[in-house]
Symmetry: C2
Subunit: 205 residues, 2 copies
């Protein structure tokens, strides 16, 4: 609300950080995070941006302190399109919440995606799950593995930023794991571009 | 040794078993396992058959009691050929043992392949690892994840069956994790086909 041709905006070049084993990078998600800080009036929290490369960022006092990338969306796409699972999984099927949460629960056991993904093959072979449900099951395995490795017991609320189709799945999985989420969409980008213009020094005339 | 046109052989149709969450299947690996039992004179143990779909089978008193499939080889291929990693990982590079074991160690932390695989992207972006070393690193992450989820502290020895290129990597990773392996190759198939002919009832004339 209130956007016009005169609304000032600014862009930033992205962020990198160092994990013990490898660096990490984001480009664009920081703008969405700044936008949600502005929209929601928060300066602290855990921000989750699901996608091809999901980002989890921890913000303290208005600054992004650290973040982690997970290849969740791209691994789901690669598994469902470029492995034996492509024969039986329909990656474009609508969400089957029951099969999805079955995958989330299974991922939580920590036995690993390498084994559990093969279940999406055998459940089809034995005709125990339909192609549509299998896609949700595999999606639940992938997103559940992300939650297993990223959630800590003290995390009770996350800011979830992304497309409706993805944030719906993440919100469902998070709630299933006892975590609340506040959901934001494309508005985070516009608010972020505007917020940045107020944070950055004025440009040279 | 001792094979001739008159050596009797037999084939079997494969095995299935039930996990709590999904069934599992193998087709061919059981023959190789029977072959190694015959060659090595063992009737108990853990048999590991790395590949597109790796199999871990536990044998007791000459019978396969249970087994588990992991999509390790296929996930490595999909990651290195059908994700952003394809830009920087050379999947056909020779083994770089140091980078490989770095990946194995990282997988052992249990933080998950979804995150660590992205390191193969950022290490390239920051020019900290070559395309050849990155392939070994990613391979170590995948095989290391398999070992993390499958090895138990009491497992000190496995029978490793497969192609030299794969068994070399698995033997290296297993030794790194304190597990000995006895390695078998194509001879396991022939010995298995022969062993089966002695186990099965004689055919009708």
């Amino acid at each position: 609300p209130g956007w016009s041709a005169r609304t000032p905006m600014a862009i930033v070049p992205g962020l990198s950080c160092e994990h013990a084993h490898a660096p990490d990078v984001m480009r664009g998600e920081e703008t969405q995070i700044f936008g949600v800080m502005q929209i929601a009036g928060v300066r602290d929290g855990c921000f989750v941006l699901p996608g091809t490369h999901s980002k989890w960022a921890w913000v303290h006092d208005g600054r992004i302190q650290r973040f982690t990338t997970l290849m969740t969306g791209e691994v789901f796409a690669a598994l469902s399109q470029h492995t034996i699972l492509a024969r039986t999984v329909d990656p474009h099927a609508a969400l089957d919440a029951e099969a999805f949460l079955q995958g989330v629960d299974l991922a939580h056991t920590g036995q690993g995606l390498l084994h559990h993904a093969f279940g999406a093959r055998t459940l089809a072979l034995f005709q125990r799950m339909s192609a549509g449900a299998l896609a949700s099951y595999l999606s639940g395995l992938c997103i559940g593995e992300e939650l297993r490795t990223m959630l800590t017991p003290s995390q009770k609320l996350v800011m979830l930023i992304g497309s409706p189709a993805l944030t719906q799945r993440y919100a469902l999985a998070l709630r299933h794991r006892g975590v609340q989420s506040h959901v934001f969409g494309a508005e985070s980008t516009w608010a972020g571009l505007h917020a940045l213009s107020k944070m950055l020094p004025a440009p040279h005339p």
